[in-house]
Amino acid sequence: MLQQLANGVFSGAIYALFAIGFTLVFGILRHLNLAHAAIFTAGAFVGIELATRSGIPLWLLLPIVAAAGGIAGVLLERVAFRPLAGRDDEHFAGLISSVAFGSVLIALLQARYGTEPQSFPSGYFPNQLYEIAGVRVTLVQLLTLGLALALMLGLAWLVSKSSLGRSMRAVAENPTAARVVGVNVGRVTAGTYALSSSLGAVAGVLLSINLGQANRDLGLSIELIGFAVIILGGLGSLWGAMAAGLILGLAEALTIHLFDSTWKGLVAFALLFAVLVLRPKGLFGSVRVREV
């Protein structure tokens, strides 16, 4: 039981890390970026290739993947979102163009890596096991948890305290007014995508480390869970996404414990559905309902 809850916390941390990137873009720019899952998957593949080819250590690998994710994010914004600005169907079109961008990215991954799952080289990370209060955890899991928490806190700090964060919040409030007072809205938009995508790419590496491998569909299942996380947490709420990620991880672990793993998917979506119908702003969110 305790073991399962611990596992729930670990997967919850990764859900949360994936979802805060998702929710960041929505909260600030009102874009529902459906390419986020593809960037997440790409992050995992790039990480595995780097580890396999150069054998660089994890502490160096993660920043490189984050940077690659950031570049992908800027590209995504340029190609799929910026050309649509100001169009009547901007939000709907952005959703479609991000789907298109995502499927092109996945196709390119397939071109390079084929359809077989890719694995980290054996012995890439220590196989150390700890036992805390009867719960067995691996070093990798602890690392993942610590890193995910650190990144989320870092992001929260960035948004609330730094000058980039201030500009982001200004753009979120009112892009036109932000432009009038001298915020470079184009740069803030690109920065938001870069930040969101680097978090997504790192989350991809962390999940694939935990699984030991990655395949093309890695992003697909987490994308659906990502929806659940951001709705539970309230679209656009960072703290909400973190809490909801953990809650969802725990709820899934409990379902597996109490019922059967085949029912796992139902919990996330039943929760999501209930929240949407009963409390559309999410458990923690205070964001107004936005329209596409």
């Binding site: 169009r87 959703l95 298109a100 659906l224 709705i231 998917g265 139902l266 559309p280 329209e291």
Partner: protein, 564 residues
Amino acid sequence: MLAGYDTLITTVALGAILAYSFYVVLMAGQLSLGQAGFASLAAYTSTLVVPTEPLFGSLSPVLIGIPVGALVGGAAAFVLGLPVLRLRGVFLAIATIAFGEMVRVFMTNAEWTRGALGMRLDKWVTIDLAWIVVAVLAYLFWRLGPSRTGRAFAAVREDELAAGSMGVDVVRTRMASFVGSGMIAGVYGVMFAYFFGRITPGSFDFGLMMDGLVTAVLGGYLVFFGPVLGAGFLSAVPEGLDATGLEAGWVYPFFTGLLLLAVILFLPGGLSSLFLRRRRRPKPVELTDAERAGLFAGYSEPGTEIARVRGLGKSYGAVQAVRSVDLELKSGEILGVIGPNGAGKTTLINMLSGLEPPTSGEGEVLDVKLGQTGRSHRFARAGVSRTFQHSKLFNRLSAFENVLVGTHVKVKGTFLKRLLWLPSARREEHLALAVAWEQIRRVGLEDRAHLRPGSLSYGDQRRLEIARALASYPELLILDEPAAGMNHVEAGELAELIGSLAADGITVLLIEHNVKMVLDTCTRVVVMNFGEVIASGEPREVATDPKVVEAYLGAEDTGESQYV
């Protein structure tokens, strides 16, 4: 020539059917992604009723499955729609995705569906049957487009508030599109099951839904044959790639992704918009005398009371926007409402036109009681029509089509009649076109009728909104700052127009900052400040009322105002 391509051609038909289930929600502006769930429920239910032997010795047993699928899909959509249609945009999309996933998990865990193993079925769907279904759907949407219902769908897509104010029942229209989508998705589910001969819960997953959405967007959701075009194109791409020798597995998703990106960026109306004829100027249609007489039937006698409110108030949290307003409106008068910014004028007319319920007080407008939310179409049907302070035009419709939506309450539904080519449909459409022409000419926009609102000047947009409001032949017309942004020549023409409306027997409620215009045009003026009526009476009296002069006109001396 087609031999050997049967499977491919049937797949195109199935893809088109799935895309139609997205088309019908997209044309009403709803992003619903529950189709996989509807298809799954319908497909599994149909396995319980579709016989294993041909009907009457020769007919495909799926002919029983198809109506059952439509029924199950439509019923599921209705039940799901009751709670989720309060949501909009991405929230609706995510809620419906969640529904689809719940259905999938449920089917995986149910006993009778044989879980993830799936069911084996007979392959009863032939190429002819698949294309007959597509043809029926294409016919439905072809007849739907230019009908009253089709215009209502487009109006809801472009602007729900404005659609409601033109008499379109937004809640019902959204539900209709949602149920329609469920029915078509249900048919798709059954066809899928009996074409491939095997279903698993995973047959109807998120990926399938994205395929349907992509097909609908690629083909375009503004023209009835868009889904067929989209499905055909998506199937042709791999054939073409095969022919050029590019067969690697990644090539197909790569090219379709690029294609989709190109279409959404450069061709927002989808591939089918390439086939649209250029926007032509609509041909003038004249009202017949009988039609004209019918339009004014039922107007109240001049001087009778058509609206009365008592103690009307509206507060938003701690802010009291309107407090205890008493007001009557008599047929045939032109009532001006003036007051400084934030005086509560727009809130007042929002309540009078049913857009917002009052928080205190009561009243009736043309026998409709104030109070319910989301019921602004009732006010429109009773004869209230309005314009908005910030123009709310339907941006992707032409100016003329905008005005046509305004005729919604004056014509009868024509979709079913158009399906059967009844002559009465033609009569109703003639009335709609003639009314729209009359009004667009009245505001002087007949030579710009084919343009989109976005390419009209600011003053023209305001006039277009008035024409749209007039097309419902309202008894009470509410104008919210119609002269804002007009130069004085345009404002003068507008004042003349308003005067001529009164001569037609239309009662006008005018909010305006151009005080001179109000004092010149109106027969009675109400002055508001801080949510209260501070003066009311004939223009001349009001203009010299010391309270008004102090609160609004701003002159220090209490003598004659400069406006008189």
